[in-house]
């Protein structure tokens, strides 16, 4: 069981390494969007500190969305997906592997660069640590839920826009708890409660979403 997941993760990572520009582009998208906000709002540190969690999280949601349409599309085009669907091991495991790989190339870099961007918003050290932790904890849920949307819109015309229409409303709880954790730290309440709820969301969605995505893939492949 674990073998299947690991094999898929390794394969997808290797494929992603061949297209490093995609990863870098998504990362720069994140950086640019976050940097645009102070230009639109103004440089007052108090205001920026208040807005930082929300801005960083919304930008992270959008940056994750960028790479989702390709999650299954390439495998679908060259027929690999059909092979995987016919293979004896459950498709849900394969999707779990793909979700993990997607997080490694899209969510993890965001978490690593987020503290640097947080500095632009004058966040304190505590807040930066919580921000990084929240993005680390929350982005796997984004990859998981996003996989369902990617599977449902596979091969559908206007898939990219449709995907964001389907997936963004489902991201709301992650956004609320992710930004809330940083907010609570800034206001001195402590973000543990938010972080544990975020972890629960991540476990639930990484556990269940691949199976829903597998069902959606089977519908798309029929």
């Amino acid at each position: 069981m674990l073998n299947v997941i690991v094999a898929v993760v390794v394969r997808d990572l290797r494929l992603a390494m061949r297209r490093q520009s995609d990863i870098v582009s998504a990362l720069f998208f994140f950086v640019i969007v976050v940097s645009l906000f102070p230009l639109g709002i103004g440089p007052e540190p108090d205001l920026l500190r208040k807005l930082a969690p929300g801005v960083l999280w919304v930008a992270a949601l959008l940056a994750t969305m960028l790479s989702l349409p390709r999650l299954f599309a390439d495998d679908h085009r060259d027929g690999t997906l059909e092979q995987l669907a016919l293979a004896p091991h459950p498709l849900g495991l394969v999707v779990t592997g793909k979700v993990i790989a997607h997080w490694l190339v899209s969510g993890l870099p965001l978490a690593l660069i987020a503290p640097v961007l947080g500095l632009q918003f004058d966040l304190s050290a505590d807040a930066l640590i919580v921000l990084t932790g929240a993005i680390l904890l929350g982005t796997p849920a984004l990859s998981g839920i996003g996989a369902i949307g990617a599977a449902l819109t596979l091969g559908v015309r206007g898939g990219g826009v449709l995907l964001s229409l389907l997936v963004l409303p489902l991201y709301i709880p992650v956004l609320i708890f992710g930004a809330g954790a940083v907010d609570a730290t800034v206001s001195g309440l402590g973000g543990e409660g938010h972080l544990s709820l975020l972890a629960a969301l991540t476990f639930a969605s990484v556990g269940f979403a691949p199976w829903a995505s597998a069902a959606a893939l089977k519908i798309a492949l029929e």
Binding site: P169, F177, A216, I219, A220, E222
Partner: protein
């Protein structure tokens, strides 16, 4: 066994189509009756509310519209589950027929909520937990309709839409509670509506209006379902008979 058999019979479009056709006028009549009774009680008989003055009368459409928007989503998810489990043709047609009415109900709920909020809270829109959840529900409806509209193959559209509905219905409570939590953290409990005990007539008129909205939604869903059925089943015998019947009895 006989019941089971009947159930399957009604689930087949050939039986359902004429049945829906005969039922629609009754649902329309019921909607009009309930609506007139509810409006009479609510607008003419019910006394004023001490806290909110006459503005409270908006609840006679706001609350039924909100209820229907949530209820229709649940009904759609129910049909979707049946459709995915038993592979019935009817269920996909029903979900697609229900969606536009559900979305309109969510829209009405938001619109009347804004028109209620302006005099009561002094703002057209507040990020109240219920209003926010209603907005997200509208997004979910729009997502469902966009997905099914984008897929050309009807069977795939039904199944993909059904799966989205099931994912949505699992997420709705999570979204609702997270929004509620977010709301209490950011605003405290400054906004609290309809906590005052309602007079008997108010409650009755609200229930009557809710029945009116319910019957209206059923009538419209059946109307839409009939069109979808005819379109999808146009190559079957019953649809040909139905269409050629229109041909002789209709315009010619």
């Amino acid at each position: 066994m006989k019941d089971r058999f009947n159930l399957y019979r009604f689930a087949s479009p050939a039986t359902f189509y004429p049945l829906a056709g005969t039922l629609i006028p009754y649902f329309v009549a019921l909607a009009v009756l309930f609506g007139l009774a509810g409006l009479y009680l609510g607008m003419l008989v019910a006394p004023t509310d001490f806290q909110q003055g006459e503005g409270y009368r908006i609840i006679f459409i706001h609350v039924p519209a909100s209820w229907m928007s949530m209820f229709i989503y649940l009904v759609m998810a129910f049909w979707a589950a049946i459709g995915l489990a038993f592979n019935t043709r009817l269920s996909g047609m029903m979900t697609q027929a229900l969606a536009p009415t559900g979305a309109l109900m969510a829209f009405l709920s938001l619109l009347t909520g804004a028109l209620w909020g302006k005099p009561m809270w002094g703002a057209w829109w507040v990020w109240d937990a219920r209003l926010t959840s209603e907005l997200i529900l509208l997004f979910l409806y729009i997502g469902y309709m966009a997905l099914t509209a984008a897929i050309d193959d009807a069977r795939r559209a039904d199944k993909a839409g059904g799966l989205l509905l099931l994912v949505g219905v699992v997420n709705v409570p999570i979204i609702y509670f997270s929004v509620k939590w977010w709301n209490t953290l950011h605003q405290g409990s400054s906004i609290n509506l309809a906590k005052s005990s309602m007079a008997q007539t108010m409650l009755w008129s609200m229930l009557l209006m809710a029945m009116c909205f319910w019957m209206y939604s059923i009538a419209l869903a059946l109307m839409r379902a009939r069109t979808i059925m005819l379109e999808r089943e146009r190559h079957t015998d019953w649809a040909r008979v139905e269409l050629s019947g229109h041909l002789t009895g209709g315009e010619q």
